[in-house]
């Protein structure tokens, strides 16, 4: 197998609507995912993450450009690509009238696994997703988070070399999310490759080796969470409440971004005391914390990830 699990070059997708002008969902996305990596596409709703994932997963044809999965072009050779991938679709739900155990097992059988292997992998995946207690209950009786874990269990049980996960932890509680992250890390340690989309900044940071920030159908920046944060220009964030009218005063300390009425300023630790003094004199409350991926996102995109 080639070292690159996925190689995308200048992928564009324009949706032609029956009414209204065409919508350009992807405007030239290029990226590479190496075998064994966990890579996240991070972006706001509607940024183009799912469109790219669906193209890479052979479910949607690009308008132009190419995506290769382990050396096979997805539009020309979908039948060669499909045995090597597995997909958790966005908002996908298991069959309501199957139990999680039945869902995983029957899916593995449909993929061509023999009974013994399918049984063994089903038990393993159910255990990894901590679904043992509900494994034999119909999915219609499960919570949203349990259904989502069933979907993830279904896909990780395949052992496919490349997994596409579209918002894999949506609807899960914090403990379940961390459990899924740990399982995905274990999968890549065993050789699988993962491309996931998320709009959870903590998930992108905790889970991905590298991430791509996507906005309006373009990749704005790519790198590790650390390198993205370093590009912000400092290591500390000072958040000044009611700082909307004081942008100019604080701009000299570093890059400043207004989020509601709070002004976030990225500063070098050497100038921390200085900026705090200015804030105190102006009778403003200032909170100090480390620079997060949120700052990197805000600075790169110009908007919060939750903003529509």
């Amino acid at each position: 197998m080639p070292p690159e699990a996925l190689n995308a070059v200048d992928v564009r997708k324009t949706y032609r609507l029956r009414r209204g002008p065409p919508v350009e969902a992807l405007s030239g996305v290029s990226m590479t995912v190496r075998a064994g990596e966990r890579v996240a596409l991070l972006g706001r709703n509607g940024a183009g993450k799912t469109t790219f994932l669906r193209i890479a997963a052979t479910l949607l044809r690009p308008t132009s450009g190419s995506v290769e999965v382990f050396g096979h072009e997805v539009s020309r050779e979908p039948d060669a690509v499909r045995p090597m991938i597995a997909v958790v679709p966005q908002e996908g739900k298991p069959f309501f009238h199957l139990t999680p155990r039945e869902q995983v097992y029957t899916y593995l059988r449909a993929r061509g696994l023999d009974r013994a292997t399918a049984h063994a992998r089903t038990s393993e995946a159910i255990g990894e997703m901590e679904l043992d207690e509900v494994a034999d209950r119909l999915s219609i009786t499960l919570s949203g988070g349990q259904r989502q874990r069933t979907m993830v269990a279904t896909v990780i049980a395949t052992g496919a070399p490349l997994l596409f996960l579209d918002e894999p932890t949506i609807g899960m509680d914090p403990f379940a999310r961390r459990g899924v992250w740990e399982s995905l890390r274990a999968l890549t340690r065993r050789g699988s490759t993962i491309l996931l989309t998320t709009h959870y900044l903590d998930e992108a940071e905790a889970l991905s080796d590298r991430l791509y920030i996507v906005e309006r159908g373009r990749v704005l920046i790519a790198g590790t969470a650390e390198t993205l944060k370093q590009q912000v220009g400092g290591t500390l964030r000072v958040s000044i409440s009611d700082g909307a009218t004081m942008g100019e005063t604080f701009a000299s300390f570093g890059s400043a971004v207004l989020d509601g009425t709070t002004l976030h300023v990225i500063v070098d630790p050497k100038r921390l005391l200085e900026i705090l003094n200015v804030a105190v004199k102006a009778q403003r409350t200032a909170t100090v914390g480390p620079v997060t991926l949120e700052e990197a996102f805000l600075r790169t995109v110009g908007r919060s990830i939750d903003e529509d």
């Binding site: 679709p89 309501f96 449909a110 061509g112």
Partner: protein, 251 residues
């Protein structure tokens, strides 16, 4: 020698059809309520025109096979629109053709029980000949193939389940109830009979009625109905296979 076209690959179809049958059978009551219309019609015929009961029983079997297509339509659309499970299965070694056939065969397996009850009633009420028995099996399968193929193709055209329910109901009742499926083809206006004989359910019913009472149809009508049913079923099946592959990768 290589063929100029790729033959469909049905890898995984048997396993997926077992999954589908299992999904359907979890809602066992739906399997039996699928027979309500047929039994209501049979009761009316029993009360009002008992002499045509054999015709109505054979028609009920054909109608049941035909409405399996409506269930394929609803199931394929539901799995795609509400569950997005088509993406899970299509981005896998299961071929698009197997995905379509898996749903169609799964629905057939799940709903076969009540249809066999109708067959048992037919054995009691209808004077079966070997020809009629063979024709019943052949026409039933042809109607199922046509209807399930049409159902799958139509399922890909909708994005809203409410629209699907309305249109599916109109379509399947139009094809299955209005033409002479439950009643003798001789009662259908002569001028419109060719139309009835090219519609799969009434073509099948017409052939069965002719096998039951030879001479109901002219020999040219028999040929018309038989050719129409065979060609339409195979063509629609071919279209569904191609359509399944085409829609597996949206444009």
């Amino acid at each position: 020698m290589a063929l100029p076209f790729a033959l469909p690959n049905f890898r995984g179809a048997a396993s997926f059809s077992a999954t589908e049958a299992r999904v359907q059978l979890h809602e066992g009551i739906a399997v039996f309520t699928s027979m309500i219309t047929q039994f209501v019609v049979l009761i009316f015929v029993w009360v009002l025109a008992r002499s045509i009961l054999p015709v109505a029983i054979l028609g009920a079997i054909i109608f049941s096979m035909f409405t399996l297509g409506q269930r394929v339509l609803n199931e394929a659309a539901y799995v795609r629109v509400d569950h997005k499970l088509n993406e899970l299965y299509l981005a896998s070694p299961l071929t698009p053709e197997s995905y379509f056939l898996g749903i169609a065969v799964g629905v057939l397996l799940a709903y076969l029980g009540p249809i066999l009850i109708l067959v048992a009633i037919a054995v009691l009420w209808v004077a079966f000949t070997p020809l009629l028995a063979v024709e019943l099996v052949a026409t039933s399968l042809a109607v199922w193939l046509f209807s399930s193929s049409m159902g799958y193709v139509l399922s890909t055209l909708f994005r809203d389940m409410r629209a699907i329910w309305s249109y599916a109901s109109i379509l399947y009742n139009l094809f299955g109830v209005l033409p002479p499926v439950f009643y003798p083809v001789g009662l259908f206006p002569t001028a419109l009979r060719p139309i009835a004989l090219v519609m799969p359910p009434s073509a099948a019913a017409g052939l069965l009625q002719d096998a039951l009472r030879p001479g109901v149809l002219s020999s040219s009508d028999v040929v018309l109905a038989a050719v129409a049913l065979a060609v339409e079923s195979l063509v629609m099946f071919g279209v569904a296979l191609l359509w399944a592959r085409r829609t597996a990768q949206e444009r």
